[in-house]
């Protein structure tokens, strides 16, 4: 009987607790229902059950969250003691660096290595992150002035990235601190992209647009009844709209590349297969230009880490340029070779044409957006002035290098060095 009484008492206590926890909800419900009643919306027959239901609902076990939180705390007490900090850091997708009171790196997770490189344990943090705001952040946390702090940090080179960085001390008396980088690049880039896109597009689209507008005016005026001129003008207008479409395509793909500054690690690309695919896809263009494409591939596997579609675009742009601008040479040589002598061993892909070559003073500049050696040739070859800019962007992301060698009259060689790791 005593047991029974205790149980009853427990039950009563539970109900009381639930009512107490739900007091504000009940009160708010009552007020709402009564308000509707007094305003004459419903009859008393409806009112009574409505209030009863409200009361009943509050009695249902609502402390689910609280109970599971208690349970979680219990599990944590047992489970986290065995958890290694290294595993925890590895499981975090954002770059994370653990450092000690002297600001020396103790541990950095894989994401941090991928994002920043060259941050082995033992390196002093303020030497690596030199930006004034990062220095201030480290100082404020290490001096103990604040337990944790947040700053916005942007890195301009090699690719622009923006992070929200939070620094805080870990636990009590561990003498360890943690730095977590939250990538904000995307949001920032969307803003920038809009501005850049408008600036670039408006500038480059204006020329074809002006010419189309001019021809429309002529067609409606002086050339109204001249079928021959009309045909010719419509052809020019079609070329111009084609050019605008290509330009927008290129601008978009450039903007897309800028959206994701660094690659997902882990994927491998078979260069032999990729370059073969590019050559096949450009065979019609080569035939049209009377250019023979020759291959000279090294034996053995030719794999590098990277993104297949992006590398495909790199070689496509380079080979397309070689076929178009090196047309007079009659042949283009595509070679792949292993380069183990380099500081970073890897694979070289070289696309060499035997055309007129590129004058020396232009070589450093041709990867700039809209930089053209000869505006007229570029227009007739349907160039947008963005091809090499896209190439350079992709290669920067692959940590690769583009070397251009050329001698006027002897052709040009574009060599891509992709590091093996």
């Amino acid at each position: 009987m005593a047991d029974r009484g205790a149980e009853d008492k427990d039950a009563a206590q539970t109900i009381a607790t639930r009512l107490w926890n739900g007091r504000w909800l009940i009160l708010a419900g009552f007020v709402a229902v009564l308000a509707v009643y007094f305003l004459g919306g419903i009859s008393a027959y409806v009112l009574a059950p409505a209030l009863a239901i409200l009361f009943g609902a509050a009695l249902l076990p609502a402390g689910g969250a609280r109970q599971s939180a208690d349970a979680a705390a219990a599990i944590e007490a047992i489970g986290l003691q065995r958890l290694s900090g290294e595993y925890l850091a590895a499981a975090v997708a954002d770059p994370l660096i653990i450092f000690d009171h002297a600001a020396t790196i103790v541990h950095a997770n894989a994401a941090a290595f991928a994002a920043f490189g060259g941050i082995a344990p033992g390196i002093s943090l303020p030497l690596k992150f030199r930006a004034p705001e990062m220095q201030a952040l480290l100082d404020s946390v290490l001096s103990g002035a604040v337990a944790s702090d947040v700053v916005d940090y942007t890195e301009k080179l090699p690719v622009e990235r923006a992070y929200r960085v939070s620094a805080s001390s870990v636990g009590h008396g561990t003498d360890l601190y943690v730095l977590v980088f939250k990538d904000q690049s995307e949001a920032r880039r969307i803003d920038r992209m809009r501005a850049d896109f408008i600036a670039n597009a408006s500038h480059e689209l204006r020329t074809p647009l002006a010419s189309i507008a001019g021809f429309i005016e002529t067609l409606r005026g002086p050339a109204r009844n001249d079928p021959a001129a009309r045909e010719q003008f419509l052809q020019i207008m079609q070329n111009q709209t084609g050019r605008m479409a290509r330009l927008i395509d290129d601008l978009l793909s450039l903007s897309r590349l800028e959206m994701k500054p660094y690659l997902k690690p882990g994927t491998e690309v078979d260069l032999r297969q990729t370059v073969d695919g590019v050559i096949d896809s450009l065979a019609p263009l080569a035939r049209e230009n009377n250019v023979a494409i020759e291959r000279n591939f090294a034996k053995g596997p030719l794999n590098v880490p990277g993104d297949r579609d992006e590398l495909f675009q790199v070689f496509e742009n380079l080979l397309e340029n070689a076929c178009k601008y090196g047309q007079s040479g009659g042949r283009v040589l595509v070679s792949i070779s292993r380069d183990d002598e380099d500081v970073e061993p890897g694979i070289d892909v070289t696309i060499r044409d035997f055309g007129p070559g590129i004058p020396e003073e232009h070589i450093p500049r041709i990867t700039e957006r809209f930089y053209r050696i000869d505006v007229e040739t570029s227009r007739t070859q349907k160039g947008t002035g963005l091809g090499l800019s896209i190439v350079k962007h992709i290669l920067t992301r692959h940590n690769a290098r583009l070397t251009i060698k050329s001698e006027v009259g002897k052709g040009a060689a574009f060599s891509v060095h992709l590091p093996a790791h």
């Binding site: 060259g118 002093s124 303020p126 030497l127 690596k128 990062m134 500081v343 450093p364 500049r365 809209f370």
Partner: protein, 241 residues
């Protein structure tokens, strides 16, 4: 990294020096970045900020000089430590010059943006600045990691910067010949380009100092040939583009 001394205060002092160098480096990088941004975006406000910020670097250099001399007097350093301290003095001097060059670019902003120039004029300068800044960043990263075997890239970059500068020089001359009204902004831009090219040279100097600190040897002496602008002359009969 540095060896451990019996006097931990000595270690602290050496660490403090390298931390100050890094902070100066961060400031110098930021100043150059902002000076070029001010020029490209026609932002005199930002340019004023860069000019004001230069005092931070001046102070930094003075502080490092003082500290270094105190350490030398107090600790009588040898070998690595001595190189570390002398290196810090030299690097801080280079960084202070980088800041001055950045400030000089910022000072020209007002004159250049006076008559609004086409963006194509700035694109080359921006690319040149990116090269120089990348070089500075990589060199300072090597200062942090002490992995001097990677320092060979400095020479490559220096070649690239020189080639780019030569090309830019030629381009600006062409603009001046096209239209005399371009002469004022183009001359200022020419000086800006020269300043940025000098920043690359200072980065190379810093790389050499770091090489010396870590290895105790001088970097093998095959200095790059330098830019070729001394040979550029455009004849007046050259067809204007």
């Amino acid at each position: 990294m540095q060896s451990v001394h019996i006097m931990s205060a000595y270690d602290e002092e050496l660490k403090y020096l390298s931390k100050r160098i890094a902070a100066m480096g961060g400031h110098a990088e930021r100043m150059v970045e902002q000076a070029v941004a001010a020029l490209v975006n026609a932002d005199p406000g930002l340019a004023q900020k860069v000019i004001r910020d230069d005092t931070v670097l001046d102070e930094g250099q003075r502080e490092i000089d003082d500290k270094a001399i105190v350490i030398i007097a107090k600790r009588q350093p040898m070998a690595t430590d001595l190189r570390e301290i002398v290196g810090a003095i030299r690097i801080s001097a280079d960084l202070e010059r980088v800041g001055d060059l950045g400030k000089n670019v910022a000072k020209r902003v007002v004159a250049v943006i006076d008559g609004r120039q086409p963006t194509s004029l700035f694109r080359g300068l921006e690319a040149l600045a990116n090269l120089a800044l990348t070089q500075l960043k990589e060199v300072l990263d090597v200062y942090a990691s002490r992995s001097v075997e990677k320092i060979g890239f400095v020479r490559d970059r220096d070649d690239q910067i020189d080639a780019m500068y030569t090309s830019l020089f030629r381009e600006l001359l062409t603009y001046m010949m096209e239209d005399p009204r371009n002469i004022t902004p183009c001359t200022h831009l020419l000086f800006c380009a020269k300043n940025i090219e000098r920043i690359g040279d200072h980065a190379t100097n810093i790389a050499e100092t770091i090489y010396y600190i870590v290895t105790g040897d001088q970097m093998p002496a095959d200095r790059p040939k330098g830019d070729k602008t001394d040979k550029i002359s455009l004849s007046a009969s050259m067809p204007a583009k």
